[in-house]
Amino acid sequence: MGEFKVHRVRFFDYMPSAIRAMAFNSRTERLAVARADGAVEIFNFSDNYYQEKVIPGRDGRAVEALCWVGQRLFSAGLNGEITEYDLENLKPQYVIEAYGGPIWTISCNNQGTHLAVSCEDGTVKLFEILKEKIQFQRNLDRQKSRIISLSWHPSGAQIAAGMMDMIRIFDTETGRATHRLLVERGVGASKSREVVVWSIAFLSNNTIVSGDSAGKVQIWDGLMGTLVRTHLVTKWDVLALAVSQDESSLIAGTSEGTIVQFQFLSSTVDRQDRDHEWVRTRTFKNHSHDVKALALTDTAVVSGGMDTQLVVHPLLDKVEKNTQEAAQRKIAFPHRSLVGCAKKAGLLLFQFPDHLELWRLGESDGNDHICCSALSPCGGWLVYSTVSSVRLYKLQHNNNISVNKVRPQQRIIQLRSVHQLCFSADSSKLFASSSQSSVVVVALNQLECKYLQTLRHKSGHSCPTAVAIHPTTNNLISVHADQQIFEFSLQQKEYTEWSRKLQKQGLHGLWLKRDTPVTSVGFNPKNPTHIILNDTFMFCIIDQSLPLPESSTILYNQMTLRSLPAPERTRQSHAFKICKNFQHVLSMSLLDDLSLVVVERPLLDVMAQLPPPVRQKKFAT
């Protein structure tokens, strides 16, 4: 494997933003996640939970709620606007002002015909969903206090709205409130404080479930307007609720970071048809802070909150044991590289939502947040893209760095949704991987740049997560969300022999089981057969001259190899040399002088920057 001089970089104080809202589309298996900085991320659950799309945020556009209507994604926020996103070009398509003050939540009926938004001024506004846009239809009865949460009855005839101290049920036909359910306040000191119904769910059997700031999950009879049962779940707030599609299970997220599951069970096992009751069953503790957003898929509990991590916790009674699905995933970092490295010049580029840091090189213009960025190996070029544009800069650095903006070619202007950007080793070409599973190659002259060709991937099923051009062979290596590796010869315009062999034999099971995608691909300048890959938890050198590992061989064998005598060692070694010495790696690149730059961002440092969690009594403290 060889030895490297390692630069361990820990001064990139990247801080992911808190998760505010979440919406799961079970038809397309896409999860939309809204963060506090206004960014919306889309995860493809069928493609290894890959963070497929990121729509960067904008200053002053906090998303409070998300809602899928078929393939369309809507959001609403405290700025009082409803936004529909253009998921192809990864930017907001249009924005509509609701004229009701800050919007607390947005909800769509099962039929997909209407959107309801709840506003600070006490109104629930219904919007009709048209083909290209949405149109305001009417207001429901105006209430005295703000409306925090909404839920449609599956029939679409009624809406339950949670507000301060009470729940209202509206008839959507007439717009009249039919029931008024009073929610009890907390005991003791919180008696004087209004209770906030943070979340509400209207089930098809006319049961209403509410979660409130007094820590209660309450089950109501929506027909009679009576309280059926109260479950005191926490001493703090119940912030989010999510119901499974078959309405047999329900989860509630709390300020303590716990998620409590309720199941609709019959009291006796043999008479399944009657006496069903919501019973508190499991408790999950995957977060340290508020759980603000929840989704309950068929197989897993998906949660996110203040501690910025997205957690997919599989329900063991719904998945097969020891499969990919049965493993719990914590997605802490974005699935793309935020660090650029000029290998020859030894410069590092850190990407933040609102600026780049190469000793604080360039501010992004306008309010759009930066989507991706790259630095050429020679250190002469810098490229970044926002929602609206891709920008290329020429850097001149002797002692003080100067930045010159390059007026790009028309074709580059057309590049909108760029996931990945990278330069070839001689800094003459720029590659961009776009969301349509295609790779765009741009050649750069010293002063101008021109578009060369678009490569469309044949197996378009999985997103590429990292791409790189080999500096000597000019082969393109692409690694995908399903952990597959391809090598494409740019000369022959076909997959190389090695790539075919790899596809034929298949990758090792443990390699496929890894749950973070490869975020960068690099090469060893001294040994052209070495490909260097890394994900959050390991880095790997693929030696193309060695045999590929069989499924029965040990994948992680570096430690055992070391203890073996030399002849045995060569017999046992295989192409994948994996090193797990580093944790929470954001970027890793091998410089020309064979020193390795590792940018780490320990989770503990991220945690340390979070606000203190709510106080909880711990045993024996």
Binding site: L232, S267, T268, D270, R280, R282, A620
Partner: protein
């Protein structure tokens, strides 16, 4: 128990009452619990023991109300039988012979005529594997029924009764063992198994410790080693089962119990706190803390009004509606094991031994009742597993009972051994012991033995302690030189060693002129006044195990037992070995009031007792196999009143009584036939009116009433016509007092009842004859009752005779008083003569 001449080994109370879950009867008046080889019936209101259901010949392992008759109770035992009792009258109804040891018993109303028991797999007695089997109880009139037809229900179950429970009306049964929970549905004949991982990330133990099923819903509550309680639902699915977790206990949950309506779940553990969880509102819970010792079992009365908890200190607490402790039934407190010797307090004549943790208990042998606990350690006891805390290991009284010496020690894994020697003076005013001196670290190592100088006349009291550190020390009470208001305290007077050997035993001679200390194989004899080594005695091989001086006429003898099965008797006058014999003696002790010595020998898993005088070669008394296992604790307790038995082999029991603890920590004693008879005689008055629970107060009253009745007999002849009250009629008494299941048919009773109401004008003797016949028939049906009952019925008979006389009076009103008296006298004569004739 082996009958031996006219001396018997009997239980003297103190058996474990916390061994198995107690049972509260349907009317909440009685509490039944397994206790050693019998089942005890306690009154829940007065805490008194009402009956001992005796009959089993080995440990009773389960008590269970019969689902089809709430006045009957099943008990099962290691002796391989299941017995059915009538607990209100203490009558054995039936014995079912199973043929292999039974470890627990279950039944449900859904399975009529079937009981479920846990027996070893394959009938192997030593097997570690157990199975749950169903036993069809044959319908037979016989008292002893063989029922060896067992059909297996679940294999590989736990022998702990808490690990199996019937669910919702007996629809299913849940059994937990290790990390696995099995649920068996009877209707579908299908079982489901659920496993937990060995432990979770945080190091908790997931092993199941107990199981309880909700009475109405299909919900199984399981307790776990790390203190969690899981509530399982949907357990008729292989995969879609679900459970919720409740966590309050920080150590293993030892018992779980649902209330009869299923509204609450009770749990308890080593924390000594009873926790009440609202079913389906589990965040609401109530606590009943400070119950004194770890909770081992929880039971609830069928009406849900009473809870009772068994505790590891051999106590049962009865709790009213989870808020108020209404009664405490305290047996002889048993800690983990008794570490002190059995001692008799010379003042109160109470037995003294380890009690609650850190306490000494004073237990009245006469009344089989705990008097009080003396706090020795005087530190808060922390109810937590695996915590090493101070424990009393030695205690000794001086001859008059004014001084008590105690040794407490604590050994923590990493730390040094901590030893404290405390001396307590008896305070006349408070009638209890008051701490006088605390000597911390009296020796550098563990104290092996301790004794007071027995001299009653001498002014100086002396205590000698021996230790593993190779020293023995003498401690003396000394007044401080500078007289302040402090009283005298204890200080070290002398430190002795012998060739660096470790002293094991020490003993003062009867007149306190000699101190014998054994150093491994060597016995050294010292003068306690001059601390001069007088002589050494040795009989190798084998270290000395016990050392005793002879008393009274045998004071010249010193006896010792060695580890190499030797009993030696040295003559101190000649300083030579008088005699020795080869025996494996586990315990040797001397009777302080006579020359007698008792030696317990362990042989082939049993213990034999020999009582002998050191001067005589022949033992006074020997008793083979007094109990199984070795006896390591015994004591001679002086009698309150001397017996005057002159039979040779029971003379040794005249002055004092020998008590010993078996390996099961049962307190046993020896009684003579004469004593038994006297006890019988006193107990025959126990004719109890059913409506009153039997309390000492009642007995007192009852005796008084009885005397009154006797006094009234001559009076009634003076106070003219007194019609007999109907309830005093024999027939009614028989009708009301005899248990229903032993009564003859109603038609038979009816005629008798009617007859008893009739005023007999015909031939008196004829009438009497009739009654007699009826009575005899009844007696024949009550044959299983013991002699006690027989005597009772003879009393009844004489009363009945009186009744018939009185009824005769009513028929003939014309007679004068004198005539009546005369007639009565004649009739009485006649009756007694006739009765005598009939009886013979």
């Amino acid at each position: 128990m082996v009958e031996h001449g006219d001396i018997r080994v009997v239980h003297r109370g103190g058996s474990k009452i916390d061994f198995r879950q107690p049972v509260i009867t349907n009317d909440s008046r009685f509490l039944l619990c397994a206790s050693g080889e019998c089942v005890k019936v306690f009154s829940t209101s007065t805490e008194e023991c009402i009956h001992d259901l005796q009959g089993h010949t080995d440990l009773v392992t389960g008590v269970l109300l019969r689902p089809s008759n709430h006045l009957q109770v099943y008990s099962c035992s290691i002796d391989g039988t299941v017995r059915l009792w009538d607990f209100t009258d203490g009558i054995l109804i039936k014995t079912y012979v199973i043929g292999c040891p039974v470890y627990s018993i279950y039944a449900s109303a859904n399975h009529e005529g079937v009981i479920f028991i846990v027996v070893p797999m394959l009938g192997d007695k030593r097997s570690e594997l157990f199975q749950l089997v169903a036993v069809h109880l044959p319908q037979s009139g016989d008292q002893l029924v063989e029922s060896r037809e067992l059909s297996a229900v679940l294999s590989n179950v736990s022998s702990n009764p808490a690990d199996i429970a019937f669910g919702r009306g007996g629809e299913y049964i849940a059994s937990a063992k290790g990390l696995q929970l099995k649920v068996f549905f009877f209707k579908k004949q299908k079982s489901y198994e659920f496993s937990l991982k060995e432990d979770n990330k945080k190091g908790g133990l997931n092993t199941f410790t107990c199981v309880a099923c909700h009475p109405k819903d299909d919900c199984i509550a399981t307790g776990h080693g790390d203190g969690k309680i899981r509530l399982w639902r949907n357990f008729n699915h292989k995969k879609e089962y679900t459970y919720s977790t409740l966590h309050w206990h920080h150590n293993a949950v030892s018992s779980l119990c649902f209330t009869p309506e299923g509204t609450n779940l009770l749990s308890g553990g080593v924390e000594s706190v009873l926790v009440q969880w609202r079913y389906n509102q589990e965040s609401q819970r109530d606590f009943l803390p400070r119950l004194g010792a770890a909770i081992t079992h929880i039971a609830v009365s069928p009406d849900g009004a009473l809870f009772c908890t068994s505790h590891s200190d051999n106590k049962i607490t009865i709790i009213q509606s989870c808020v108020k402790v209404s009664a405490v039934i305290q047996g002889l407190v048993k800690g983990e094991s008794v570490q002190t010797d059995l001692i008799v307090d010379p003042r109160s004549k109470a037995l003294v031994l380890n009690g609650k943790p850190g306490h000494l208990q004073f237990y009245s042998l006469q009344r089989d009742k705990l008097l009080y606990n003396l706090d020795i350690v005087q530190q808060e006891y922390i109810h937590e597993l695996g915590l090493e805390q101070f424990e009393v290991v030695k205690a000794a009284f001086d001859a008059s009972g004014t001084w008590l010496a105690t040794v407490e020690e604590r050994k923590q894994k990493s730390a040094e051994l901590e030893v404290n020697l405390k001396l307590w003076a008896f305070d006349e005013q408070t009638q209890s012991f008051v701490l006088n001196t605390t000597i911390s670290a009296p020796h550098e190592a563990r104290i092996t033995a301790m004794c007071f100088r027995q001299a009653t006349d001498s002014q100086t009291t002396m205590l000698v302690s021996t230790s593993k550190d190779g020293h023995f020390k003498a401690w003396q009470l000394a007044t401080p030189a500078h007289t302040e208001d402090e009283g005298p305290s204890w200080s070290c007077d002398f430190v002795g060693t012998y060739h660096g050997l470790v002293p094991e035993c020490c003993c003062f001679s009867a007149d306190s002129s000699l101190l014998a200390v054994s150093f491994q194989e060597v016995v050294t004899v010292w003068s306690p006044t001059s601390w001069e080594l007088l002589t050494t005695l040795s009989q190798p091989p084998g270290a000395i195990r016990d050392l005793c001086f002879g008393r009274l006429s045998c004071s010249k003898y010193l006896l010792g037992t060695t580890a190499k099965n030797l009993l030696c008797c040295w003559n101190l006058l000649t300083c030579s070995l008088e005699w020795s014999t080869s025996m494996d003696i586990s315990l040797l002790l001397a009777d302080p009031l006579s020359e007698n010595m008792a030696a317990f020998c362990c042989q082939a898993g049993c213990t034999d007792l020999f009582v002998f005088k050191p001067s005589e070669p022949r033992p006074l008394f020997s008793h083979k196999a007094v109990c199984s296992g070795t006896v390591t604790r015994a004591v001679f307790a002086p009698r309150e009143k001397m017996l005057d038995s002159c039979e040779e082999n029971s003379q040794w029991l005249n002055r004092s009584q020998l008590h010993f603890l078996t390996q099961y920590m049962d307190l046993m004693t020896f009684t003579t036939k004469a004593e038994d008879d006297r006890l019988m005689a006193s107990s025959k008055q126990l004719v109890i009116d059913d409506s009153v629970a039997m309390t000492p107060f009642y007995l007192l009253l009852g005796k008084h009433r009885h005397q009154q009745q006797e006094n009234q007999d001559p009076m009634s002849s003076l106070s003219a016509e007194r019609t007999p009250l109907p309830q005093s009629s024999v027939a009614i008494k028989e009708l009301l007092q005899t248990p229903a299941h032993v009564l003859p048919s109603t038609s038979f009773l009816c005629s008798m009842f009617v007859q008893s109401l009739l005023i007999s004008v015909t031939d008196l003797s004829g009438c009497r004859e009739n009654n007699k016949k009826a009575e005899e028939e009844m007696e024949s049906e009550k044959e299983e009752e013991d002699s006690e009952q027989e005597m009772e019925s003879s009393i009844v008979r004489s009363e009945q005779a009186a009744v018939s006389v009185q009824s005769a009076e009513c028929a003939a009103p014309a007679l004068t008083k004198a005539q009546v008296r005369e007639l009565r006298r004649l009739k009485k004569l006649d009756h007694s003569w006739l009765a005598g004739l009939l009886d013979s």
